[in-house]
């Protein structure tokens, strides 16, 4: 039976998942007279509001993890904790932005249905910790991506690469999970079968996250698939979520993190730097966004193995910040492509005069990806770099190298796409109202979370502490008022003086 405070949570969760699912069936059967965009937007708005209700309820309520259903393999069928409460509105917002920005010719009934189905499955995946449900969700989220890529002209190579990689990932995930369920490594006396299963799941995460040497599908997908498909497949980072649910809380590991995750994080550090270095020499915009997404996604995994709450928090913040910023960057690039065709980075394209507003948004989202002060990525970078350097010097240096290379790659892309002589009689591309609203809202979210990160950081810290199994120390209340009580008289070096 559900408690009093659980009923609204479950109702909101149902609404968040059911709304896009219902809309997917509706538009898939061609049931909308006004075109597929309107029902898709409405359903994702419902999903966003419901997700925010969960976040609010979780933050203002008892803040006790909601666990319902059968417990199997260490996880419940319905599992809502601090991480879920943050990730649900994030996914809903990203999917809503994609639907709002998608050019009309890419948003026919079947394409919209695939986006909505993917959204509903991702939301469902982020609210479960049940290993078998995770496997099913992996398959269901991969299928629309493959289908959509294959249906795109010129997307056959990307579809085949994606199919090969995902088959490997799903097979590894299924076998590994079943082995872990049969011989649970998180229980005392767990045997070799469970341990092997753990490593197979680690391999699955490695493949699905695009970690070196299984990274090639990331840029391939961005080049071959519609931008909506590529973003929806990569931005939510379901493999990171799976790693969190399956590798945290192992009884055989003192600090609460599975040793598989520690190995993954080392490879992820290399991938983050390698991806950023590859981004530098990309010859087209889609390649750049793909390699950048690969680098940022690897940074999240690199931070997840952190033994310090700071590093784990940095990983969670990077998850959100890079997801929102890359979505903005990809959508601006898509809007530009739909007006001007494919964009090369080999010579200056001179698009500034045609689309100054898109140039401004591209720059803002690009800078928000690489740690612009005042955006959430600045906070994320600060936590990730500090945490990594505190823990391992080489990890910190690789994170710094990745951020530096990504920044140069983004600036090069901006200069190459928008700089250069423009054709004198070229048309000026006006930004549509829905595009302007979407981009402004997305950027405002990044800035708002960057200027006032304390509530988000606090919730993520609480979620991280719970995952690591360490007690959560609530920080002192955060204030922004001018402190008139301290002056020259305040003793230097007195830590208590720094408290607000």
């Amino acid at each position: 039976m559900l408690d009093g405070h659980e009923i609204p949570l479950v109702a909101a969760l149902t609404a968040a998942i059911a709304a896009p699912l219902a809309a997917a069936f509706h538009v898939g059967r061609g049931g909308s007279q006004a075109g597929p965009r309107t029902p898709a937007i409405v359903s994702l708005l419902v999903s966003l509001v419901a997700s925010l209700t969960i976040t609010r309820a979780w933050m203002s309520g008892s803040e006790v993890t909601l666990e319902l259903g059968q417990r199997l393999g260490g996880g419940y069928l319905v599992h809502v904790d601090g991480l879920t409460a943050v990730l649900l509105p994030f996914v809903a917002l990203v999917e809503l932005a994609i639907v709002m920005m998608a050019p009309k010719r890419f948003l026919d009934g079947p394409a919209t249905a695939r986006i909505l189905l993917g959204a509903a499955t991702t939301l469902a995946l982020f609210s479960t910790a049940h290993p078998l449900v995770l496997i099913v969700a992996w398959v269901v989220t991969a299928l629309p991506t493959w289908w959509s890529t294959r249906a795109t002209p010129g997307g056959q190579i990307a579809a085949r690469v994606y199919a090969i990689i995902m088959t490997m990932a799903v097979a590894s995930m299924t076998v590994g999970t079943l082995m872990m369920i049969a011989d649970p490594p998180w229980e005392a006396g767990g045997g070799a079968v469970g341990a092997c299963g753990g490593w197979l799941v680690a391999l699955a995460v490695l493949v699905r996250k695009g970690i070196v040497p299984f990274h090639s599908w990331y840029p391939a997908l961005f080049r071959g698939a519609p931008m909506s498909t590529a973003l929806a497949a990569t931005v939510p980072q379901i493999a990171s979520y799976t790693a969190v649910r399956l590798f945290f809380g192992h009884a055989d590991h003192g600090d609460g993190v599975g040793e598989e995750l520690i190995l993954l994080s080392q490879l992820a550090l290399l991938t983050a730097t390698y991806g950023a270095a590859l981004a530098l020499v990309q010859r087209d915009l889609r390649g750049l966004i793909g390699t950048l997404a690969m680098s940022q996604s690897a940074l999240v995994l690199a931070g997840l193995a952190g033994k310090l709450p700071m590093e784990l928090n940095g990983a969670f913040c990077t998850w959100i910040s890079s997801g929102l910023a890359l979505t903005g960057l990809g959508l601006v690039g898509w809007a530009l492509e739909s007006r001007a065709g494919p964009l090369s980075l080999e010579t200056p394209q001179g698009r500034f005069a045609d689309a100054p507003l898109l140039a401004a948004f591209f720059l803002l989202f690009g800078l928000a990806t690489i740690g612009l002060p005042g955006t959430l990525s600045f906070v994320a970078d600060d936590l990730l770099v500090s945490g990594s350097l505190d823990e391992q010097l080489h990890a910190g240096l690789l994170v710094i190298a990745a951020t530096v290379l990504s920044a140069i790659a983004v600036m090069r892309a901006w200069l190459m796409v928008f700089g250069g002589p423009s054709s004198v009689d070229g048309p000026r591309h006006h930004v549509l109202p829905r595009e302007r609203i979407t981009l402004t809202a997305l950027f405002a979210t990044i800035v708002l979370l960057g200027l006032w990160p304390a509530p988000l950081v606090r919730e993520l810290e609480r979620a991280g502490s719970e995952l690591l199994g360490v007690p959560f120390e609530a920080p002192a209340p955060v204030g922004h008022g001018v402190d008139h009580g301290r002056g020259a008289a305040g003793p230097p070096g007195d830590p208590s003086a720094a408290a607000p």
Binding site: A158, L280, I400, V404, I408, P453, E473, H484
Partner: protein
């Protein structure tokens, strides 16, 4: 420095401010926030309408930005007066904790002292003057609003960096400086050279920013927070380090590395002459006055650490002197006025670095201010230099006189020729960097990128299609 007591009663304002410590602190805190908020608010007021495709008129834009800098300048002057009555004792302004994880606190701390407040007055005053100049100079320029948005961003970043009371706040301001500088170098985006120059400057900044980022982390590790008041105590310029000599040396070396990029020190100097691709007002304020001295400012702010780190001071002097000699030599053979001025700025910046390394902090501060004012005037006048010259010649009735004598003429002719060659090749700095560092790395990365594409093609093509392609390629090869 204190104002004699006899003067204070004569000035009601100072008398009022000097009344109580608490009220003086409250006033300073409000004024410091005002210095920061004025340009930041302008950034929003000018930038947001532009982002919504409803830019303000030229007049409204210049007035708004000019007013903000004037307000910040007046607030700075008032703060200076209040501080002078209190012997320039530092006033810490704690605006709150931005976020906090575990024992990692990111605090928003500002400091008003004998270094930051004069520097804010000087920088906001200069920005206000350049704003007035640019309003006329860029009249009807397509990027008019963009320039002023970037100027406001620069002003916000500059004030944030100068007033920073913690390394986190300083880093945020430092980043704004780098971004606004890059965007202004690439202001005339239709010119390929401007794009290349912007990317070169940004790359240099980001590489050297590693130093500041790592220094920030080291400071957090050393004192558990980024607050400067836990890092050094006392009154500038006689503050003393509160960390161990080892930590002081490491942090100082990282700060020197960070400063080298922004202040165009050898071997990171070649972006500066190319940065003159930007509009003249931005060249004046960035590369003649403020941005070029940002590195020196950070070193002056952390002078207590340098005191405890003789190795870092030695490195600083060597870098400063090398840059000064290099820039003085190369600057002599430049054939355009803006490049010549860029190298002149670099020379002075090198000397300032050496002064900081030698411990002449007040001299360095005075040198920064005087050099910045002179150089920005020269750069602002540079577009009309030819006109000035003609006027001079018309007034004198002929050529003003022979070229000035140079000490280089004392050298043998073969040495002069060699030096000329070295100067023409900009000290081989670029050649060495491009041939031995950037070139090989770039070629390797391109090779990796191409290999990735080949791998994706191979993996994504069916085996039968691959075989058919191979046969077709061979047949075409034979027919050729």
């Amino acid at each position: 420095m204190t104002i004699p007591g006899a003067i204070v009663p004569a000035c009601p304002l100072l008398g009022f401010f000097g009344a109580t410590s608490a009220s003086a602190h409250a006033i300073v805190a409000t004024l410091v926030v005002l210095q920061l908020a004025a340009p930041a608010l302008t950034l929003v007021l000018v930038g947001l309408p532009a982002l919504l495709d409803r830019p303000l008129s030229e007049r409204a834009t210049t007035r708004l930005v000019g007013s903000a800098f004037t307000v910040a300048f007046l607030a700075g002057l008032t703060t200076l007066m209040v501080l002078s009555t209190r012997g320039f004792a530092p006033e810490q302004v704690h605006l709150g904790t931005w976020f906090s994880v575990g024992h990692h606190d990111a605090t928003i701390d500002l400091v008003a002292d004998g270094l930051s407040v004069p520097y804010v007055c000087f920088s906001t005053g200069l920005c206000a003057l350049v704003n007035a100049f640019a309003g006329k100079y860029l009249h009807r320029e397509p990027g008019f609003t963009r320039f002023f948005v970037l100027l406001a961003l620069f002003g916000t970043g500059m004030n944030l960096m100068v007033l920073a009371g913690s390394i986190d706040v300083l880093f945020a301001g430092w980043e704004f400086l780098g971004i606004s500088s890059t965007m202004l170098i690439g202001f005339f985006h239709e010119r390929t050279n401007a794009l290349k120059a912007a990317l070169r400057a940004f790359t240099t900044y980001r590489i050297c920013d590693v130093g500041l980022l790592a220094a920030g982390v080291m400071i957090h590790r050393a004192v558990g927070s980024g607050d400067f008041e836990r890092l050094f105590g006392g009154v500038w310029p006689n503050a003393n380090s509160l960390v161990s000599p080892g930590s002081a040396t490491l942090v100082s070396l990282l700060l020197v590395f960070a400063a080298m990029g922004k202040s165009a020190q050898v071997p990171f100097s070649n972006w500066l002459p190319r940065a003159m691709e930007g509009p003249t007002p931005s060249s004046a304020i960035f590369y003649g006055a403020l941005s070029i001295h940002a590195g020196a400012y950070v070193l002056l702010r952390c002078e207590a650490l340098l005191d405890a780190a003789p190795l870092a001071r030695f490195v600083l002097v060597v870098i400063g002197v090398s840059t000064a000699v290099h820039a003085a030599l190369v600057g002599r053979v430049q054939t355009d006025l803006k490049s010549m001025l860029a190298y002149a700025s670099m020379t002075q910046s090198g000397i300032i670095f050496a002064e900081v390394g030698l411990g002449f902090r007040v001299v360095a501060l005075v040198h920064i201010v005087s050099h910045a004012i002179l150089r920005s005037l020269q750069i602002l006048r540079s577009p009309s230099a030819l006109h000035d010259r003609h006027e001079l010649e018309a007034a004198l009735g002929g050529h003003p006189g022979a070229a000035s004598w140079s000490i280089v003429r004392l050298l043998p002719e073969s040495a002069q020729a060699w030096l000329y060659r070295v100067a023409l090749d900009r000290g081989f700095e670029e050649m060495v960097l491009s041939r031995f560092v950037v070139g090989p790395v770039w070629r390797f990365l391109e090779w990796l990128g191409a290999a990735e594409l080949r791998w994706i093609d191979w993996l994504g093509t069916r085996p039968e299609d691959r075989a058919r392609d191979l046969v077709e390629r061979r047949m075409h090869g034979r027919s050729r």
